[in-house]
C-alpha cells in the first residue's frame, strides 16, 4: 500500500517537469528505497531476532544439581537393584534407577527422571566399594535422551555418586554438571 501511494506521488511530482522536481524525485526515490530497504531490513532484523531466540531456547544449558532418595522395589535379583524415589534440585520429579553390579568394584546404572512436562534418561558407570554399613559409588553419567520439555536433553560426564545402605538397599544419589536441553 505504501509503495502504491509513493509511486503515485512520485509520478505526480515528475509530471511537473522542474529541475528541482527531478532532484526531489531522485531524493524521494532514494528515500523511498532506503525506507523500503529499512522496512525490509526491519523485518529481516526482526526475523533474525526471532530466529536467535528460538536457537537460544534449543541450546538452553543449566547447571544440574540433583539429589535423589530411593528405595528398592521388588525383590533384589542378586546383582541387580531396581530403585524408585524422588529427585530434587534443579529438576524435581520421580526418579528410577536400575543398578547393575557388574563386578566387585564397578556398578552401572540406568537413570530415568520424570519431572513435570517431560522426562530425562541416561546411563552411568561408577566405581563401587563397601564401607561397613554402606556401599559407595562414584563415577560419571550421560543423559542420552529426553521427552517433552526435555526432548533435546543431552549431557556427558555428569558427576554421579551415591551410597547404598546395605541392610535394606536404600539408595541416595547425587548428579551434577551442565545439562543442555
Amino acid at each position: 500500500m505504501a509503495r502504491r501511494i509513493g509511486s503515485r506521488n512520485v509520478s505526480g511530482i515528475a509530471a511537473r517537469g522542474s529541475r528541482w522536481g527531478h532532484a526531489r524525485v531522485r531524493g524521494l526515490l532514494v528515500a523511498g528505497a532506503i525506507a523500503s530497504l529499512g522496512a525490509l531490513t526491519g523485518v529481516v532484523v526482526l526475523g533474525a531476532g526471532i530466529s536467535s531466540a528460538a536457537v537460544a531456547t534449543a541450546a538452553r544449558t543449566e547447571n544440574l544439581r540433583e539429589s535423589g532418595k530411593l528405595h528398592v522395589t521388588g525383590r533384589p535379583n542378586g546383582v541387580k537393584l531396581n530403585e524408585q524415589g524422588s529427585a530434587s534440585g534443579t529438576i524435581s520429579g520421580t526418579i528410577y534407577i536400575h543398578l547393575n553390579l557388574s563386578s566387585q568394584t564397578r556398578v552401572s546404572a540406568e537413570v530415568n527422571i520424570y519431572p513435570s512436562g517431560g522426562s530425562l534418561s541416561g546411563y552411568g558407570s561408577a566405581s563401587y566399594r563397601v564401607e561397613g554399613a554402606d556401599a559407595v559409588f562414584s563415577g560419571t553419567l550421560s543423559i542420552t535422551r529426553g521427552t517433552g520439555k526435555y526432548a533435546h536433553a543431552r549431557a556427558r560426564g555428569l558427576r554421579f555418586s551415591g551410597s547404598i545402605k546395605r541392610v535394606n538397599d536404600a539408595t541416595t544419589v547425587a548428579v551434577s554438571g551442565p545439562l543442555s536441553y
Binding site: 542378586g78 546383582v79 566387585q104 568394584t105 566399594r129 563397601v130 561397613g132 541392610v167
Partner: protein, 261 residues
Amino acid sequence: MPKPRILTALTAALALSACLAAPPAGAAETAELQTSFTPDLLGANTTIGFGFHIANTNGGSPAPLDSVSLHLPPGINYITTTLGLAICQPATLLAQGIGGCSPNSRLGFGEAYVEVPFGQGSGHEIPDIQALMGPPHNGNIVVLFYANGQSPVSAQLVFQGELVAGSSTFGGSLNTAIPLIPSVPGGPPVSVVSIHSTIGPSHLIYYKYAHGKKVAFHPRGVGVPSSCPRGGFPFTADFGFTDGTTAIANSTVPCPPRRRR
C-alpha cells in the same frame, strides 16, 4: 699329618653344625585345603567354610607361616552380602576383645591349631578365631582375624586379610599376612599348623532398628553363582613361610544340586 687331621675335624664339625642349623635336605612344607558351602545350593547365599593343614615333610613342626592367599572361584559374589554392616577397629579389638566390637561386624568364626616351642620340646594351643569386618584399605574389604589363645600361653592376636577383587566378573582373593607370633617374649615363633574358619552368616545374628525397636536378623551370605563350572567351584590357596619356602593347595566344592524355584 696334623694339618689334614685338623682340617678333617673342622670340616666334620662344620658339616654337623650345618645339619643342625638348616632343615634336612628335601624338607619342605606341604599344605592341604578344605572348602565348603553351607547351604550347598546354586544361586543361594551361603557360608564359605575353609580350612588348611600345614605339615613338614620331615615330620617336624612346619616353618612359621608368613602369608596365606585364598583365591575364590570366579562368580563368587561377596558384594551383595549384608555381612559386615559395622566396622571393627583393630586397636579396639586388641584392647577389648570381641566384646569391644559390634555384633554386626562379625563375618565368621573358627579355630586354629598352633605348635608352641618350649625349651627342647613343644606343646600346642587351640585358639578361637573370630573373623570381623575391618576398616577398608585401598577400597578393599578388610577381614580381621582375632585369635584368642588361653593355654598354655594366654595370647590375643589380630591379623588382617584384604579381599582383593578378581580380574573376572566376580571372585577375588583373601590375602592375609600372618605376623610372627613369639611363644614367649624373645622366644622362637609359634607355627600355625591348621586354621578352620567360616565367612558367612551361619550361626551369626545381627541387629537392626525397625520402627524404633532392635530386631535380630540373619545377614545375607556370600552369593553362589546360579551355574556351576565343570568340575565344581575351584579354590586355591598360596602359602608363604618365613624360611622363604612356599606351598600351594587346591580344593573344589562339588557342583551342588540346582536350587528349587
